[in-house]
């Protein structure tokens, strides 16, 4: 099981955090501090696993971002690396060669995508196409709702003008 997902920039800025196990706000900031120190200081050729408080943190760096997932000792670290890559590929497909700025300004969309990949710290979908389709469907629901709202508000505005 994945206990949490973190996206940390090379400067140590937090770009996304998702907690599947119980951590209080205080613990969360402590975890972030500890782990960003541990992970950012590791050299490039080293393995992608950090043992931490009896858990294992699997991380992978993509451009300026570190994707980190914390799992139990007995979990398959190599698979977690694949899950990270899966997530990155889906982000890439959605944003069209994703960069850190995309994730900053559209952080909520990154969360929506993550929610289509992981629930309760377990993998939900192995097909990138399915995830993309589900996200697109929900985005289009959003657009239709907005259009409707616009037309209604337009009507109201016009109605009040009269």
């Amino acid at each position: 099981m994945i206990h949490f997902v973190l996206l940390i920039s090379r400067q140590g800025k937090v770009r996304l955090t998702k907690w599947y196990s119980l951590y209080s706000q205080k613990e969360r900031s402590k975890v972030l501090r500890e782990l960003s120190g541990d992970i950012l200081s590791r050299g490039p050729k080293l393995c992608n696993f950090v043992e931490w408080r009896g858990y294992k943190v699997v991380y992978k760096r993509y451009a300026s971002l570190y994707f980190c997932m914390c799992t139990n000792q007995e979990d398959n670290e190599l698979e977690i690396l694949e899950i990270i890559h899966h997530f990155v590929e889906i982000l890439d497909r959605y944003f069209g060669s994703v960069c850190e700025l995309d994730l900053i300004f559209n952080f909520h969309k990154a969360y929506y995508i993550l929610d289509e990949i992981l629930i309760a710290g377990e993998l939900q979908e192995s097909s990138k196409k399915t995830v993309a389709r589900l996200i697109a469907a929900q985005d289009s629901l959003l657009e239709t709702a907005e259009e409707q709202a616009n037309t209604i508000s337009n009507m109201i505005v016009q109605a009040t003008k009269k």
């Binding site: 998702k18 398959n76 694949e82 629930i119 377990e122 993998l123 097909s127 196409k129």
Partner: protein, 890 residues
């Protein structure tokens, strides 16, 4: 229209925050935004709720408090439209956790949304429930989730499956409801449903044995078949992960099979073929393939024995171990740890490679490898492995040294074949990384050294050499200091040379140099300095030529700022200056430290009984017999009182007894070796309340107890780090004794007046005319004891008794000592005796004055038991008696 709601857009806010150059600026921007959002919240603004929630999430991610937005999430979830619900649920998951009570308010909305006609809204609710539901919510909403496991859309079924995992983890009792719907998911074709369904079954097996039995009996074959299909399915780009079709599905199947096969031969048998197929057919070039292989190996190791498969698995691990990719090597080491239980021999074959991994540049790999090596060590390979590890210690990173040292020490202690090897290895570790060695480790080393008498010389010389080159390693210095203090003469004289040794020339002054350096080095802490100080004292006696120099070093610390050291310096200086005669006895070599006691203490099973352990270890080598305690008890059992003892001022009593004993020191002049039980008798007299079966030697003259007493008090001192404790008072007693001696020297002529009557009249003159007749308190064949009494004015309870001893025999009594015990209601204060030798044939006498205070004066008469010990022609004699016939009115 709300004047605030026209505030910045999300994008603008993020931009503004990113443009901030300082933290203060950022705080200002955030504060302003939060104020706007709060205003909007209190206005119940709906138009911009969506945007405000998004902003809040961003602010939350930066680490600012956002609790005021929690209710907004709930409102947003409760609204009808999908966009509001979507952002609302996201906010719920980000801003709240399962502990917040607010969460309970959302249960109803969740229930409605789980039954919503829009499947995306159902999906949102399932996702939120799966990520943050509490046990209570799990109970309330489990039926909805269970129903959704059969929903028409597979994307809802997979979400419901994962949501069920959270529910059964929160409330394991609910597991049985999910067993059969979960089993149904295993027959699905949709990969998402299959992945989540298998995962649900795995977690069900973990929380419920009922589920485990169910799946084992009904699903094992089906799972094997589905996995076979998956493995043999043609390449499908939709599920491609770097050339492998859906590794996630493979891995989950293998994991479930592992749980089903564990401890069940039939199920294990059933999956053998497919495991062999996965193990041989999976492409090991990419990470995804290795992930599957890794999972497969673990399953093979866990299920019931199949030797063919295990060979396959161990080979895969061997391949992993030699892989260039650090990740693969890491998991190989991880897996080998588990493989040890299955096939230790196979793992031993990879020892050399694993040892290389201990030296890897990657900390994670090093740590794993070190733990693995630790498991691989046994009696047969301990020597080469330890050598490798110690060699590596020289070049390893500073931060790794601590782990490495701890492991090496633990290996060496556990498997050392002989003491010399143990000492050698420990010295190497101490020289390389002494600063990382824990205290217990070097304590244990000292115990081992102390217990290896034939290696004392060898060890002290080796330490001397080591400390010359690695003087910066604190624990090495401490061990060296201790050994030089104990075995200094062996260092200088090359005593006990082993064949392998080269003789070294060390002068006495060289040995003192080591201690002086340790004493003066600014990095030495108080423990090292204190140990050096004690070692110096020891050397001052063993190396008379250096005595003066040692004294100078000690004197330098008399003004030290550390109280402990200052006090020791003063005490030691006084020992050197004024007590030459008792010093050799004081600085005797430590008795052999008891290994069993020590290890027991280390394990925490024994209370740290400092005094008893040193006491007994002191006594044992001398082979003192244990006479029954009865005479002692008799001595004390004067009245019907259970615990006849001096009712108060035990300490004074001790001081008095010590005073008595210390008086004759000059005449002893250190010639007699201290009989060890002397102190015990003294202590027994004190611990009257609970007369234990203590070792006493009735024939031992107590007169020589001062040196013994000092010895015991120094012995605990030597106990390495026990620096505080009541020792100081005891240690100082020899020094403090000198005034008494002086006093006595002056007094003795007048006290030893033979004419009792003159004294009697003297006393009676002082006492307002109250005269008590003198009595013959005790008379044996040759010894007579007279008591004469007087009362100090104005204190009727107190009586001053002067005892006069006369020896009628033709032999001189030497080592003469008088002891007395009184009932509980009486206090006794003994002054020193005038002399410790009693001339023969009544030619003179010994007098001793003491004061008794009868707290029940007038109600109970005085009573006393006495004990007199002395030597006649070197023979110990002990006489005892009871005195009841005191004159009335005392």
């Amino acid at each position: 229209m709300n004047p605030f709601s026209s505030g910045t857009r999300l994008r603008d806010m993020i931009r503004a925050i990113r443009a901030c150059k300082t933290a203060a600026e950022e705080r200002a921007v955030v504060r302003k935004e939060c104020a706007t959002i709060r205003a909007a919240v209190s206005e119940n603004d709906q138009d911009y709720r969506h945007r405000n929630l998004a902003k809040l999430m961003f602010i939350h991610m930066l680490g600012y408090p956002t609790h005021f937005g929690q209710m907004e999430c709930l409102k947003s979830i409760a609204s009808a439209g999908f966009p509001e619900k979507r952002i609302g649920y996201l906010g719920l998951m980000l801003l709240l956790d399962e502990r917040q009570e607010v969460l309970m308010l959302v249960t109803n909305s969740l229930k409605q949304d789980l039954n919503h006609t829009n499947q995306y809204i159902v999906g949102l609710a399932l996702c939120a429930l799966g990520n943050i539901c509490s046990a209570e919510m799990a109970r309330d909403l489990a039926p909805e989730v269970e129903r959704l496991l059969q929903f028409r859309d597979p994307n809802i079924r997979k979400k419901a499956a994962l949501c069920s995992i959270r529910i059964i983890k929160k409330v394991p009792d609910l597991a049985e409801n999910f067993i059969s719907p979960a089993a149904a998911l295993l027959k699905e074709k949709h990969h998402g449903v299959l992945i989540t369904g298998v995962q649900l079954c795995t977690d069900l097996c973990k929380v419920s044995t009922e589920a485990l039995d169910y799946f084992r009996k009904r699903c094992t074959e089906g799972l094997v078949k589905v996995l076979k299909d998956v493995v043999n399915s043609p390449y499908s780009p939709e599920y491609d992960m770097s050339g492998i079709t859906d590794p996630f599905l493979h891995i989950r199947f293998l994991r479930l099979l592992r749980i089903l096969g564990q401890g069940d031969a039939d199920a294990s048998d059933c999956m053998n073929d497919i495991l062999a197929q996965v193990a041989t057919k999976t492409e090991p070039n990419k990470n995804a393939g290795n992930a599957i292989l890794y999972e497969c190996v673990e399953t093979i190791m866990s299920i019931e024995d199949n030797s063919g498969l295990r060979v396959l698995a161990i080979n895969i691990l061997g391949r992993f171990l030699s892989n260039r990719d650090n990740n693969i090597r890491y998991v190989a080491l991880n897996m080998l740890m588990k493989a040890i239980a299955v096939d230790a021999q196979a793992v031993q074959r990879h020892r050399a490679t694993i040892l290389e991994c201990v030296k890897d540049s990657d900390a994670s790999i090093r740590k794993r490898a070190l733990e693995l090596i630790f498991l691989l060590v046994n009696e047969s390979n301990v020597k080469p492995l330890t050598k490798e590890l110690i060699d590596y210690l020289e070049v390893s990173d500073q931060e790794f040294k601590e782990d490495l040292t701890a492991k090496i020490c633990s290996i060496v202690e556990k498997f050392s074949p002989e003491k010399q090897w143990y000492i050698d290895q420990m010295l190497k570790v101490l020289s390389e990384a002494g600063n990382f060695v824990k205290d217990e480790v070097w304590h244990a080393l000292i115990v081992v050294i102390s217990n290896a008498p034939d290696l004392h010389g060898y060890t002290v010389r080796a330490l001397y050499r080591a400390v010359q080159t690695s003087g910066e390693q604190e624990s090495l210095v401490r061990v060296a200091v201790w050994c030089i203090g104990e075995y200094g003469e062996m260092l200088v004289n090359n005593v006990g040379m082993l064949n392998i040794e080269e003789p070294i020339t060390v002068t006495e002054s060289d040995a003192v140099d080591v201690l002086e350096i340790a004493m003066k080095r600014h990095t030495s802490d108080i423990t090292t300095r204190a140990m050096s100080l004690i070692a110096l004292l020891k050397l001052s006696s063993r190396f008379p030529s250096c005595s003066q120099r040692v004294k100078e070093i000690i004197v330098q610390h008399k003004g030290g700022l550390v109280l402990e050291l200052q006090q020791r310096s003063i005490e030691f200086n006084s020992i050197i200056e004024r007590h030459q005669n008792i010093r050799p006895a004081l600085v005797e070599r430590m008795p052999v430290l008891d290994e069993a006691t020590y290890s027991g203490k280390r394990a925490g099973s024994l209370p740290p009984t400092v005094s008893t352990s040193t006491g007994s270890s002191l006594n044992l080598p001398n082979g003192v017999a244990k006479p029954p305690a009865a005479p002692l008890v008799d001595l004390l059992d004067l009245t019907s009182d259970d615990a006849p003892a001096p009712s108060s001022s035990d300490g004074d009593f001790l001081q008095d007894l010590l005073g008595v004993d210390l008086a004759p020191i000059p005449s002893l002049s250190g010639t007699s070796q201290a009989p060890p039980s002397g102190t015990d008798v003294l202590l027994d007299l004190l611990s009257i309340g609970t007369p234990p079966p203590v070792q006493t030697n009735p024939s031992t003259p107590i007169i020589s107890s001062p040196s013994q007493n000092s010895q015991t008090s120094v012995a605990p001192l030597e106990r390495l780090s026990s620096l505080s404790s009541p020792l100081s008072t005891q240690v100082s007693s020899p020094a403090g004794a000198s005034p008494i001696v002086d006093l006595l020297d002056g007094l003795s002529p007048s006290l030893s007046m033979p004419d009792n009557k003159a004294q009697e009249s003297n006393f009676s003159g002082d006492n307002n005319g109250l005269v008590y007749p003198s009595i013959v308190a005790f008379q044996s064949g040759s010894l007579k004891m007279m008591f004469s009494f007087s009362k100090p004015p104005g204190n009727p309870q107190t009586t001053i008794i002067q005892a006069t001893f006369t020896n009628m025999s033709s032999n001189v009594y030497t080592d003469f000592i008088f002891q007395a015990a009184v009932p509980k209601f009486v206090q006794l204060h003994l002054d020193p005796a005038s002399s410790n030798s009693l001339p023969a044939s009544g030619n003179g006498s010994v007098t001793q004055k003491f004061r008794v205070t009868n707290s029940q004066h007038g109600q109970k008469p005085l009573a006393m038991r006495i004990r007199i010990a002395y030597k006649v022609n070197g023979q110990d004699v002990l006489e005892q008696g009871q005195i009841n016939k005191f004159p009335a009115g005392l």
